[in-house]
Symmetry: C2
Subunit: 302 residues, 2 copies
Protein backbone atom coordinates (compact mmCIF):
# COMPACT_ATOMS: atom_id res chain seq x y z
CA UNK A 1 0.00 0.00 0.00
CA UNK A 2 2.90 2.38 -0.67
CA UNK A 3 2.22 5.81 -2.13
CA UNK A 4 4.55 7.36 -4.67
CA UNK A 5 4.80 11.14 -4.98
CA UNK A 6 6.65 13.07 -7.63
CA UNK A 7 7.14 16.80 -7.22
CA UNK A 8 9.41 19.51 -5.95
CA UNK A 9 11.72 19.57 -2.98
CA UNK A 10 12.80 23.15 -2.51
CA UNK A 11 14.12 25.81 -0.23
CA UNK A 12 11.75 28.65 0.52
CA UNK A 13 12.17 32.17 1.80
CA UNK A 14 8.84 33.19 3.31
CA UNK A 15 7.56 36.43 4.78
CA UNK A 16 4.20 36.70 6.55
CA UNK A 17 2.83 39.22 9.06
CA UNK A 18 4.11 36.83 11.74
CA UNK A 19 7.73 36.85 10.71
CA UNK A 20 10.11 35.66 8.06
CA UNK A 21 12.45 32.82 7.31
CA UNK A 22 15.31 33.05 4.81
CA UNK A 23 15.68 29.39 4.00
CA UNK A 24 13.40 26.59 5.05
CA UNK A 25 12.81 23.19 3.53
CA UNK A 26 9.74 23.23 1.32
CA UNK A 27 8.40 22.06 -2.01
CA UNK A 28 5.17 20.21 -2.71
CA UNK A 29 6.72 16.74 -2.40
CA UNK A 30 8.12 17.55 1.05
CA UNK A 31 4.76 18.63 2.48
CA UNK A 32 2.96 15.81 0.71
CA UNK A 33 5.32 13.11 1.96
CA UNK A 34 5.37 14.29 5.56
CA UNK A 35 1.55 14.34 5.63
CA UNK A 36 0.97 11.05 3.80
CA UNK A 37 3.57 9.14 5.81
CA UNK A 38 1.23 9.15 8.80
CA UNK A 39 -0.90 6.64 6.92
CA UNK A 40 1.27 4.68 4.48
CA UNK A 41 4.93 4.34 3.44
CA UNK A 42 5.79 7.09 0.95
CA UNK A 43 8.17 6.80 -1.99
CA UNK A 44 9.50 10.14 -3.09
CA UNK A 45 10.66 11.11 -6.57
CA UNK A 46 12.29 14.53 -6.69
CA UNK A 47 15.56 16.33 -7.33
CA UNK A 48 17.81 18.41 -5.08
CA UNK A 49 21.12 20.18 -5.48
CA UNK A 50 24.37 20.14 -3.54
CA UNK A 51 22.88 22.52 -0.98
CA UNK A 52 20.57 19.78 0.31
CA UNK A 53 22.32 18.72 3.49
CA UNK A 54 22.10 15.86 5.96
CA UNK A 55 20.19 18.25 8.20
CA UNK A 56 17.55 18.66 5.50
CA UNK A 57 17.41 14.93 4.97
CA UNK A 58 16.91 14.49 8.71
CA UNK A 59 13.49 16.15 8.44
CA UNK A 60 12.21 13.00 6.74
CA UNK A 61 14.11 10.63 9.03
CA UNK A 62 12.17 8.33 11.30
CA UNK A 63 9.16 8.63 9.00
CA UNK A 64 8.14 6.00 6.49
CA UNK A 65 9.54 8.06 3.62
CA UNK A 66 11.74 6.33 1.08
CA UNK A 67 14.21 8.80 -0.39
CA UNK A 68 15.92 6.42 -2.81
CA UNK A 69 14.16 8.28 -5.65
CA UNK A 70 15.52 11.63 -4.50
CA UNK A 71 18.08 12.54 -7.14
CA UNK A 72 21.11 14.61 -6.20
CA UNK A 73 22.40 16.81 -9.00
CA UNK A 74 25.21 19.31 -9.39
CA UNK A 75 24.00 22.85 -8.72
CA UNK A 76 21.48 24.39 -6.38
CA UNK A 77 18.04 23.15 -5.30
CA UNK A 78 14.81 24.79 -6.43
CA UNK A 79 14.40 28.06 -4.55
CA UNK A 80 11.19 29.99 -4.04
CA UNK A 81 10.66 33.26 -2.24
CA UNK A 82 7.29 34.80 -1.42
CA UNK A 83 5.59 37.37 0.74
CA UNK A 84 2.05 37.16 2.12
CA UNK A 85 -0.23 40.16 2.46
CA UNK A 86 -1.40 41.47 5.82
CA UNK A 87 -4.54 39.32 5.72
CA UNK A 88 -2.60 36.37 4.21
CA UNK A 89 -5.19 35.97 1.46
CA UNK A 90 -2.74 37.05 -1.22
CA UNK A 91 0.85 36.23 -1.84
CA UNK A 92 3.47 37.76 -4.05
CA UNK A 93 6.19 35.58 -5.54
CA UNK A 94 9.46 37.44 -5.13
CA UNK A 95 11.73 34.87 -6.75
CA UNK A 96 11.50 31.49 -8.47
CA UNK A 97 14.86 29.90 -9.19
CA UNK A 98 14.33 26.48 -10.77
CA UNK A 99 18.03 25.52 -10.62
CA UNK A 100 18.41 21.71 -10.78
CA UNK A 101 14.61 21.40 -11.05
CA UNK A 102 14.77 22.89 -14.58
CA UNK A 103 16.25 19.66 -15.95
CA UNK A 104 14.35 17.25 -13.72
CA UNK A 105 13.50 14.00 -15.51
CA UNK A 106 11.84 11.80 -12.90
CA UNK A 107 13.42 8.36 -12.84
CA UNK A 108 11.93 5.67 -10.65
CA UNK A 109 14.22 3.30 -8.77
CA UNK A 110 13.45 -0.36 -9.44
CA UNK A 111 12.12 -0.70 -5.90
CA UNK A 112 9.34 1.82 -6.72
CA UNK A 113 8.03 0.04 -9.82
CA UNK A 114 5.35 -1.97 -8.04
CA UNK A 115 3.68 1.14 -6.49
CA UNK A 116 -0.10 1.03 -6.70
CA UNK A 117 -0.94 4.53 -5.40
CA UNK A 118 0.54 7.53 -7.15
CA UNK A 119 0.36 11.29 -6.74
CA UNK A 120 1.63 13.37 -9.61
CA UNK A 121 2.59 16.70 -8.07
CA UNK A 122 2.60 19.97 -9.94
CA UNK A 123 5.27 19.47 -12.65
CA UNK A 124 5.22 19.48 -16.46
CA UNK A 125 2.37 17.17 -17.62
CA UNK A 126 4.60 15.03 -19.88
CA UNK A 127 6.86 14.32 -16.93
CA UNK A 128 3.83 13.40 -14.85
CA UNK A 129 2.82 10.91 -17.52
CA UNK A 130 6.34 9.51 -17.78
CA UNK A 131 6.14 8.49 -14.14
CA UNK A 132 3.02 6.45 -14.77
CA UNK A 133 4.65 4.80 -17.80
CA UNK A 134 7.65 3.67 -15.79
CA UNK A 135 5.50 1.72 -13.35
CA UNK A 136 4.92 -2.01 -13.69
CA UNK A 137 1.24 -2.33 -14.45
CA UNK A 138 -1.57 0.09 -13.88
CA UNK A 139 -1.75 1.81 -10.51
CA UNK A 140 -4.92 1.55 -8.46
CA UNK A 141 -5.27 5.23 -7.53
CA UNK A 142 -3.72 8.15 -9.41
CA UNK A 143 -4.03 11.72 -8.13
CA UNK A 144 -2.78 14.80 -9.94
CA UNK A 145 -2.12 18.42 -9.08
CA UNK A 146 -1.39 21.12 -11.64
CA UNK A 147 -1.43 24.92 -11.97
CA UNK A 148 -2.33 27.80 -14.30
CA UNK A 149 1.13 27.71 -15.92
CA UNK A 150 0.60 24.16 -17.28
CA UNK A 151 -3.11 24.63 -18.00
CA UNK A 152 -2.19 27.52 -20.25
CA UNK A 153 1.19 26.52 -21.62
CA UNK A 154 0.95 22.71 -21.85
CA UNK A 155 -2.77 22.26 -22.27
CA UNK A 156 -2.68 19.39 -24.78
CA UNK A 157 -0.08 17.49 -22.75
CA UNK A 158 -2.08 18.03 -19.58
CA UNK A 159 -5.24 16.71 -21.23
CA UNK A 160 -3.32 13.65 -22.40
CA UNK A 161 -2.01 12.97 -18.88
CA UNK A 162 -5.44 13.53 -17.29
CA UNK A 163 -6.75 10.50 -19.20
CA UNK A 164 -4.86 8.33 -16.71
CA UNK A 165 -5.88 10.21 -13.59
CA UNK A 166 -8.57 9.28 -11.03
CA UNK A 167 -8.47 12.32 -8.77
CA UNK A 168 -7.69 15.89 -9.77
CA UNK A 169 -6.81 18.32 -6.94
CA UNK A 170 -6.79 21.96 -8.02
CA UNK A 171 -8.20 25.29 -6.82
CA UNK A 172 -11.27 27.29 -7.91
CA UNK A 173 -9.45 29.41 -10.47
CA UNK A 174 -7.61 26.46 -11.97
CA UNK A 175 -10.91 24.56 -12.27
CA UNK A 176 -12.44 27.47 -14.16
CA UNK A 177 -9.37 27.93 -16.33
CA UNK A 178 -9.17 24.23 -17.25
CA UNK A 179 -12.85 23.90 -18.12
CA UNK A 180 -13.82 27.37 -19.30
CA UNK A 181 -16.81 27.08 -17.01
CA UNK A 182 -17.38 29.42 -14.10
CA UNK A 183 -19.81 27.30 -12.11
CA UNK A 184 -17.83 24.68 -10.21
CA UNK A 185 -20.48 21.97 -10.33
CA UNK A 186 -20.86 22.27 -14.07
CA UNK A 187 -17.07 22.52 -14.38
CA UNK A 188 -16.76 19.17 -12.62
CA UNK A 189 -18.67 17.50 -15.44
CA UNK A 190 -16.13 18.85 -17.91
CA UNK A 191 -13.38 17.43 -15.72
CA UNK A 192 -15.04 14.00 -15.65
CA UNK A 193 -14.96 13.95 -19.45
CA UNK A 194 -11.20 14.53 -19.39
CA UNK A 195 -10.54 11.41 -17.33
CA UNK A 196 -10.69 12.05 -13.58
CA UNK A 197 -13.58 10.45 -11.71
CA UNK A 198 -13.24 12.85 -8.82
CA UNK A 199 -12.55 16.58 -8.63
CA UNK A 200 -11.24 18.09 -5.43
CA UNK A 201 -11.36 21.86 -5.36
CA UNK A 202 -8.95 23.31 -2.80
CA UNK A 203 -10.19 26.58 -1.34
CA UNK A 204 -7.49 27.62 1.09
CA UNK A 205 -8.95 29.15 4.25
CA UNK A 206 -12.40 28.00 3.09
CA UNK A 207 -11.58 24.30 3.02
CA UNK A 208 -12.16 21.93 0.14
CA UNK A 209 -14.97 20.61 -1.99
CA UNK A 210 -15.09 17.11 -3.48
CA UNK A 211 -17.26 16.55 -6.51
CA UNK A 212 -17.92 12.91 -7.38
CA UNK A 213 -20.45 11.88 -10.03
CA UNK A 214 -22.64 10.49 -7.25
CA UNK A 215 -22.13 12.90 -4.37
CA UNK A 216 -20.62 16.19 -3.23
CA UNK A 217 -18.73 16.61 0.02
CA UNK A 218 -17.62 19.83 1.62
CA UNK A 219 -15.03 20.12 4.38
CA UNK A 220 -14.09 23.41 6.03
CA UNK A 221 -10.62 24.56 6.94
CA UNK A 222 -10.13 24.32 10.67
CA UNK A 223 -10.63 27.72 12.30
CA UNK A 224 -7.34 28.40 14.06
CA UNK A 225 -6.26 31.18 16.35
CA UNK A 226 -2.77 31.22 14.95
CA UNK A 227 -2.13 30.96 11.23
CA UNK A 228 1.52 31.84 10.74
CA UNK A 229 2.28 30.61 7.24
CA UNK A 230 -0.13 29.16 4.65
CA UNK A 231 2.73 27.83 2.47
CA UNK A 232 2.30 24.15 1.67
CA UNK A 233 -1.24 23.84 3.04
CA UNK A 234 -2.61 22.58 -0.29
CA UNK A 235 0.21 20.07 -0.72
CA UNK A 236 -0.26 18.89 2.85
CA UNK A 237 -3.98 18.48 2.19
CA UNK A 238 -3.20 16.34 -0.86
CA UNK A 239 -0.76 14.25 1.18
CA UNK A 240 -3.22 13.63 3.99
CA UNK A 241 -5.96 12.86 1.51
CA UNK A 242 -3.98 10.48 -0.68
CA UNK A 243 -2.27 8.90 2.32
CA UNK A 244 -5.57 8.08 3.99
CA UNK A 245 -7.04 6.79 0.74
CA UNK A 246 -4.04 4.58 -0.01
CA UNK A 247 -4.34 3.13 3.47
CA UNK A 248 -8.07 2.54 3.05
CA UNK A 249 -7.28 0.67 -0.15
CA UNK A 250 -10.48 1.72 -1.89
CA UNK A 251 -12.28 4.77 -3.24
CA UNK A 252 -15.71 4.18 -1.73
CA UNK A 253 -17.75 7.10 -0.51
CA UNK A 254 -16.95 6.70 3.17
CA UNK A 255 -13.21 6.45 2.52
CA UNK A 256 -13.27 9.48 0.23
CA UNK A 257 -15.11 11.58 2.82
CA UNK A 258 -12.73 10.56 5.57
CA UNK A 259 -9.73 11.22 3.33
CA UNK A 260 -11.01 14.77 2.80
CA UNK A 261 -11.21 15.28 6.55
CA UNK A 262 -7.69 13.95 7.15
CA UNK A 263 -6.36 16.14 4.37
CA UNK A 264 -7.90 19.16 6.03
CA UNK A 265 -6.68 18.04 9.46
CA UNK A 266 -3.07 17.74 8.31
CA UNK A 267 -3.21 21.08 6.49
CA UNK A 268 -4.45 22.74 9.67
CA UNK A 269 -1.21 21.81 11.40
CA UNK A 270 1.04 22.96 8.57
CA UNK A 271 -0.17 26.56 8.72
CA UNK A 272 0.46 26.86 12.46
CA UNK A 273 4.19 27.37 11.96
CA UNK A 274 6.60 28.35 9.19
CA UNK A 275 7.47 25.83 6.51
CA UNK A 276 7.29 22.18 7.56
CA UNK A 277 8.16 22.95 11.21
CA UNK A 278 4.79 22.00 12.64
CA UNK A 279 3.93 19.27 10.15
CA UNK A 280 7.21 17.49 10.75
CA UNK A 281 6.42 17.24 14.47
CA UNK A 282 2.71 16.42 14.52
CA UNK A 283 1.80 13.10 16.13
CA UNK A 284 -0.81 10.56 15.15
CA UNK A 285 -2.53 11.30 18.43
CA UNK A 286 -2.79 15.02 17.64
CA UNK A 287 -4.13 14.15 14.19
CA UNK A 288 -6.90 11.98 15.62
CA UNK A 289 -7.75 14.58 18.22
CA UNK A 290 -8.15 17.28 15.59
CA UNK A 291 -10.18 14.94 13.38
CA UNK A 292 -12.66 14.61 16.25
CA UNK A 293 -12.74 18.41 16.48
CA UNK A 294 -13.59 18.53 12.78
CA UNK A 295 -16.51 16.24 13.46
CA UNK A 296 -17.77 18.65 16.11
CA UNK A 297 -17.16 21.63 13.85
CA UNK A 298 -19.53 20.33 11.19
CA UNK A 299 -22.01 18.08 12.98
CA UNK A 300 -25.73 18.78 13.17
CA UNK A 301 -28.91 16.78 13.41
CA UNK A 302 -32.07 17.77 11.58
CA UNK B 1 -43.05 33.24 19.18
CA UNK B 2 -43.29 36.11 16.71
CA UNK B 3 -40.14 37.57 15.23
CA UNK B 4 -39.79 41.29 14.63
CA UNK B 5 -37.47 42.58 11.92
CA UNK B 6 -36.52 46.17 11.28
CA UNK B 7 -34.69 47.07 8.10
CA UNK B 8 -35.00 48.20 4.53
CA UNK B 9 -37.65 47.46 1.96
CA UNK B 10 -36.32 48.66 -1.35
CA UNK B 11 -36.40 48.43 -5.10
CA UNK B 12 -33.30 47.08 -6.73
CA UNK B 13 -31.85 47.22 -10.22
CA UNK B 14 -29.50 44.28 -10.57
CA UNK B 15 -27.16 43.14 -13.30
CA UNK B 16 -25.37 39.80 -13.22
CA UNK B 17 -23.76 37.69 -15.97
CA UNK B 18 -27.14 35.94 -16.18
CA UNK B 19 -29.24 38.96 -16.97
CA UNK B 20 -30.60 42.15 -15.52
CA UNK B 21 -33.72 43.51 -13.88
CA UNK B 22 -34.56 47.20 -13.74
CA UNK B 23 -36.81 47.15 -10.70
CA UNK B 24 -37.41 44.29 -8.36
CA UNK B 25 -38.58 44.21 -4.77
CA UNK B 26 -35.63 43.94 -2.41
CA UNK B 27 -34.21 45.28 0.81
CA UNK B 28 -32.90 43.33 3.79
CA UNK B 29 -36.24 43.22 5.61
CA UNK B 30 -37.97 41.74 2.56
CA UNK B 31 -35.54 38.84 2.23
CA UNK B 32 -35.42 38.33 5.98
CA UNK B 33 -39.19 38.25 6.39
CA UNK B 34 -39.82 35.89 3.49
CA UNK B 35 -37.23 33.45 4.85
CA UNK B 36 -38.21 33.65 8.52
CA UNK B 37 -41.93 33.34 7.84
CA UNK B 38 -41.45 29.67 7.04
CA UNK B 39 -40.86 29.11 10.74
CA UNK B 40 -42.67 31.81 12.75
CA UNK B 41 -44.99 34.79 12.21
CA UNK B 42 -42.92 37.84 11.25
CA UNK B 43 -43.62 41.44 12.20
CA UNK B 44 -42.02 43.89 9.85
CA UNK B 45 -40.90 47.44 10.64
CA UNK B 46 -39.82 49.37 7.56
CA UNK B 47 -40.67 52.32 5.35
CA UNK B 48 -41.74 52.56 1.72
CA UNK B 49 -42.76 55.37 -0.62
CA UNK B 50 -45.72 55.94 -2.89
CA UNK B 51 -44.17 53.70 -5.53
CA UNK B 52 -44.79 50.64 -3.33
CA UNK B 53 -47.84 49.12 -5.00
CA UNK B 54 -50.40 46.46 -4.19
CA UNK B 55 -48.45 44.19 -6.49
CA UNK B 56 -45.38 44.63 -4.29
CA UNK B 57 -47.44 44.05 -1.19
CA UNK B 58 -48.77 40.86 -2.74
CA UNK B 59 -45.30 39.30 -2.54
CA UNK B 60 -45.78 39.01 1.22
CA UNK B 61 -49.40 37.93 1.01
CA UNK B 62 -50.39 34.50 2.17
CA UNK B 63 -47.27 34.39 4.35
CA UNK B 64 -47.28 34.94 8.07
CA UNK B 65 -45.87 38.44 7.64
CA UNK B 66 -47.52 41.29 9.51
CA UNK B 67 -47.10 44.55 7.56
CA UNK B 68 -48.84 46.83 10.04
CA UNK B 69 -45.40 48.26 10.91
CA UNK B 70 -44.66 49.07 7.27
CA UNK B 71 -44.84 52.86 7.11
CA UNK B 72 -45.98 54.54 3.92
CA UNK B 73 -44.41 57.96 3.35
CA UNK B 74 -44.62 60.61 0.66
CA UNK B 75 -41.84 60.19 -1.86
CA UNK B 76 -40.02 57.27 -3.38
CA UNK B 77 -38.85 54.03 -1.78
CA UNK B 78 -35.19 53.24 -1.14
CA UNK B 79 -33.57 52.37 -4.46
CA UNK B 80 -30.35 50.42 -4.99
CA UNK B 81 -28.63 49.54 -8.20
CA UNK B 82 -25.67 47.21 -8.55
CA UNK B 83 -23.71 45.13 -11.00
CA UNK B 84 -21.94 41.83 -10.29
CA UNK B 85 -18.64 40.88 -11.86
CA UNK B 86 -18.28 37.97 -14.25
CA UNK B 87 -17.44 35.55 -11.42
CA UNK B 88 -20.04 37.19 -9.13
CA UNK B 89 -17.50 37.50 -6.33
CA UNK B 90 -17.49 41.28 -6.58
CA UNK B 91 -20.22 43.79 -6.97
CA UNK B 92 -20.21 47.45 -7.85
CA UNK B 93 -22.88 49.73 -6.44
CA UNK B 94 -24.10 51.94 -9.25
CA UNK B 95 -26.66 53.94 -7.29
CA UNK B 96 -27.97 54.26 -3.74
CA UNK B 97 -31.00 56.53 -3.41
CA UNK B 98 -32.17 56.54 0.19
CA UNK B 99 -35.35 58.52 -0.57
CA UNK B 100 -37.95 57.98 2.21
CA UNK B 101 -35.46 55.73 4.01
CA UNK B 102 -33.31 58.78 4.82
CA UNK B 103 -35.83 59.95 7.44
CA UNK B 104 -36.87 56.52 8.68
CA UNK B 105 -37.66 56.53 12.41
CA UNK B 106 -38.88 53.04 13.23
CA UNK B 107 -42.16 53.15 15.15
CA UNK B 108 -43.64 49.94 16.49
CA UNK B 109 -47.39 49.42 16.32
CA UNK B 110 -48.91 48.53 19.70
CA UNK B 111 -49.54 45.02 18.46
CA UNK B 112 -45.77 44.48 18.10
CA UNK B 113 -44.79 45.51 21.64
CA UNK B 114 -44.89 42.04 23.14
CA UNK B 115 -42.43 40.60 20.60
CA UNK B 116 -39.82 38.36 22.19
CA UNK B 117 -37.56 37.72 19.20
CA UNK B 118 -36.02 40.65 17.39
CA UNK B 119 -33.69 41.15 14.46
CA UNK B 120 -32.18 44.58 14.04
CA UNK B 121 -31.34 44.84 10.35
CA UNK B 122 -28.58 47.00 8.96
CA UNK B 123 -29.71 50.57 9.85
CA UNK B 124 -28.24 53.37 11.99
CA UNK B 125 -27.31 51.89 15.42
CA UNK B 126 -29.32 54.45 17.43
CA UNK B 127 -32.41 53.50 15.45
CA UNK B 128 -31.70 49.83 16.11
CA UNK B 129 -31.56 50.59 19.82
CA UNK B 130 -34.75 52.65 19.69
CA UNK B 131 -36.62 49.58 18.49
CA UNK B 132 -35.52 47.60 21.53
CA UNK B 133 -36.54 50.48 23.82
CA UNK B 134 -40.04 50.60 22.42
CA UNK B 135 -40.70 46.97 23.31
CA UNK B 136 -42.52 45.97 26.49
CA UNK B 137 -39.93 44.13 28.50
CA UNK B 138 -36.70 42.54 27.46
CA UNK B 139 -36.77 40.35 24.36
CA UNK B 140 -35.56 36.78 24.60
CA UNK B 141 -33.37 36.74 21.49
CA UNK B 142 -31.89 39.81 19.79
CA UNK B 143 -29.92 39.55 16.54
CA UNK B 144 -28.16 42.40 14.80
CA UNK B 145 -26.65 43.04 11.39
CA UNK B 146 -24.50 46.04 10.54
CA UNK B 147 -21.96 47.17 7.94
CA UNK B 148 -18.69 49.03 7.41
CA UNK B 149 -20.51 52.38 7.11
CA UNK B 150 -21.85 52.20 10.68
CA UNK B 151 -18.76 50.52 12.13
CA UNK B 152 -16.73 53.45 10.89
CA UNK B 153 -19.15 56.36 11.14
CA UNK B 154 -21.28 55.47 14.18
CA UNK B 155 -18.88 53.34 16.14
CA UNK B 156 -19.78 54.56 19.64
CA UNK B 157 -23.52 54.22 18.95
CA UNK B 158 -23.00 50.75 17.52
CA UNK B 159 -21.04 49.67 20.60
CA UNK B 160 -23.83 51.00 22.80
CA UNK B 161 -26.47 49.05 20.86
CA UNK B 162 -24.38 45.88 20.85
CA UNK B 163 -24.67 45.73 24.65
CA UNK B 164 -28.24 44.53 24.15
CA UNK B 165 -27.52 42.05 21.39
CA UNK B 166 -27.24 38.25 21.67
CA UNK B 167 -26.25 37.37 18.12
CA UNK B 168 -24.18 39.45 15.74
CA UNK B 169 -24.32 38.50 12.04
CA UNK B 170 -21.65 40.19 9.93
CA UNK B 171 -19.06 39.21 7.31
CA UNK B 172 -15.30 38.59 7.58
CA UNK B 173 -14.25 42.13 6.76
CA UNK B 174 -16.78 43.69 9.10
CA UNK B 175 -15.63 41.39 11.90
CA UNK B 176 -12.06 42.52 11.36
CA UNK B 177 -13.05 46.18 11.10
CA UNK B 178 -15.15 46.07 14.26
CA UNK B 179 -12.53 44.33 16.38
CA UNK B 180 -9.24 45.44 14.84
CA UNK B 181 -8.24 41.79 14.91
CA UNK B 182 -7.48 39.85 11.74
CA UNK B 183 -7.87 36.34 13.12
CA UNK B 184 -11.58 35.54 13.26
CA UNK B 185 -11.43 33.31 16.32
CA UNK B 186 -9.57 35.91 18.33
CA UNK B 187 -11.89 38.58 16.90
CA UNK B 188 -14.87 36.67 18.29
CA UNK B 189 -13.54 37.15 21.81
CA UNK B 190 -13.50 40.91 21.25
CA UNK B 191 -17.10 40.67 20.05
CA UNK B 192 -18.13 38.73 23.16
CA UNK B 193 -16.81 41.59 25.29
CA UNK B 194 -19.04 44.04 23.43
CA UNK B 195 -22.21 42.19 24.33
CA UNK B 196 -23.13 39.48 21.84
CA UNK B 197 -22.86 35.89 23.06
CA UNK B 198 -22.66 34.53 19.54
CA UNK B 199 -20.86 35.73 16.42
CA UNK B 200 -22.00 34.54 13.01
CA UNK B 201 -19.59 35.32 10.22
CA UNK B 202 -21.28 35.28 6.83
CA UNK B 203 -18.94 34.19 4.05
CA UNK B 204 -21.05 34.33 0.92
CA UNK B 205 -20.28 31.45 -1.43
CA UNK B 206 -18.20 29.89 1.35
CA UNK B 207 -21.05 29.56 3.82
CA UNK B 208 -21.06 30.76 7.40
CA UNK B 209 -19.17 30.26 10.63
CA UNK B 210 -20.73 30.45 14.09
CA UNK B 211 -18.45 31.20 17.02
CA UNK B 212 -19.96 30.55 20.44
CA UNK B 213 -17.88 30.68 23.63
CA UNK B 214 -18.29 26.90 23.93
CA UNK B 215 -18.21 25.68 20.33
CA UNK B 216 -17.61 26.57 16.71
CA UNK B 217 -19.86 25.45 13.87
CA UNK B 218 -19.19 25.73 10.17
CA UNK B 219 -21.82 25.38 7.47
CA UNK B 220 -21.01 25.53 3.75
CA UNK B 221 -23.01 27.32 1.10
CA UNK B 222 -24.90 24.79 -0.98
CA UNK B 223 -23.02 24.09 -4.23
CA UNK B 224 -25.51 25.01 -6.95
CA UNK B 225 -25.36 24.65 -10.70
CA UNK B 226 -27.19 27.90 -11.24
CA UNK B 227 -26.41 30.99 -9.21
CA UNK B 228 -28.15 33.86 -10.95
CA UNK B 229 -28.12 36.63 -8.37
CA UNK B 230 -26.43 36.70 -4.95
CA UNK B 231 -28.38 39.78 -3.82
CA UNK B 232 -30.11 39.21 -0.49
CA UNK B 233 -28.39 35.91 0.29
CA UNK B 234 -26.99 37.22 3.59
CA UNK B 235 -30.34 38.70 4.64
CA UNK B 236 -32.09 35.48 3.70
CA UNK B 237 -29.56 33.55 5.77
CA UNK B 238 -30.29 35.78 8.76
CA UNK B 239 -34.04 35.29 8.25
CA UNK B 240 -33.82 31.51 8.06
CA UNK B 241 -31.48 31.45 11.04
CA UNK B 242 -33.52 33.74 13.29
CA UNK B 243 -36.80 32.21 12.15
CA UNK B 244 -35.68 28.72 13.05
CA UNK B 245 -34.27 29.89 16.37
CA UNK B 246 -37.44 31.78 17.31
CA UNK B 247 -39.44 28.67 16.55
CA UNK B 248 -37.10 26.48 18.61
CA UNK B 249 -37.61 28.91 21.49
CA UNK B 250 -34.11 28.46 22.87
CA UNK B 251 -30.46 29.06 22.04
CA UNK B 252 -29.07 25.67 22.93
CA UNK B 253 -26.30 24.16 20.85
CA UNK B 254 -28.48 21.85 18.80
CA UNK B 255 -30.93 24.63 17.94
CA UNK B 256 -28.14 27.00 16.99
CA UNK B 257 -26.53 24.43 14.69
CA UNK B 258 -29.84 23.63 13.02
CA UNK B 259 -30.63 27.33 12.66
CA UNK B 260 -27.32 27.79 10.80
CA UNK B 261 -28.28 25.00 8.42
CA UNK B 262 -31.74 26.43 7.76
CA UNK B 263 -30.23 29.87 7.18
CA UNK B 264 -27.92 28.40 4.59
CA UNK B 265 -30.74 26.34 3.06
CA UNK B 266 -32.95 29.40 2.56
CA UNK B 267 -30.08 31.45 1.15
CA UNK B 268 -29.37 28.71 -1.38
CA UNK B 269 -32.83 29.25 -2.86
CA UNK B 270 -32.58 33.03 -2.99
CA UNK B 271 -29.54 33.02 -5.27
CA UNK B 272 -31.20 30.72 -7.83
CA UNK B 273 -33.22 33.56 -9.34
CA UNK B 274 -33.22 37.36 -9.42
CA UNK B 275 -34.42 39.30 -6.38
CA UNK B 276 -36.93 37.51 -4.18
CA UNK B 277 -38.42 35.54 -7.11
CA UNK B 278 -37.25 32.13 -5.96
CA UNK B 279 -37.44 32.78 -2.22
CA UNK B 280 -41.03 33.97 -2.48
CA UNK B 281 -42.03 30.65 -4.06
CA UNK B 282 -40.04 28.11 -2.09
CA UNK B 283 -42.10 25.54 -0.20
CA UNK B 284 -41.55 24.02 3.20
CA UNK B 285 -41.14 20.67 1.48
CA UNK B 286 -38.33 22.00 -0.73
CA UNK B 287 -36.67 23.50 2.34
CA UNK B 288 -36.69 20.19 4.19
CA UNK B 289 -35.45 18.35 1.12
CA UNK B 290 -32.50 20.69 0.75
CA UNK B 291 -31.76 20.50 4.47
CA UNK B 292 -31.34 16.75 4.03
CA UNK B 293 -28.98 17.44 1.12
CA UNK B 294 -26.94 19.68 3.42
CA UNK B 295 -26.64 16.79 5.81
CA UNK B 296 -25.25 14.61 3.01
CA UNK B 297 -22.96 17.39 1.85
CA UNK B 298 -21.15 17.56 5.18
CA UNK B 299 -21.53 14.13 6.78
CA UNK B 300 -18.62 11.83 7.55
CA UNK B 301 -17.80 9.19 10.10
CA UNK B 302 -14.35 8.80 11.57
Amino acid sequence: MSLLVVGSVAFDAIETPFGKVDRTLGGAASYFALAASHFVPVRMVAIVGEDFSDKDRAVFKGRKIDLSGLEHAAGKSFFWSGRYSQNMNERTTLATELNVFADFKPTLPDTYLDTKNVFLGNIQPDLQKSVLHQLDGKPRIVGLDTMNYWIEGSNAQLRETLKYVDILTINDDETRQLTGEHNLIRASRHVFKLGPKILIIKRGEHGALMVHPKFIFSVPAFPLEEVHDPTGAGDTFAGGFMGYLAKAGNMNEQSLRRAMVYGSVLASFTVEKFGVARLAKVTRREIEERARKFAKLTAFKL
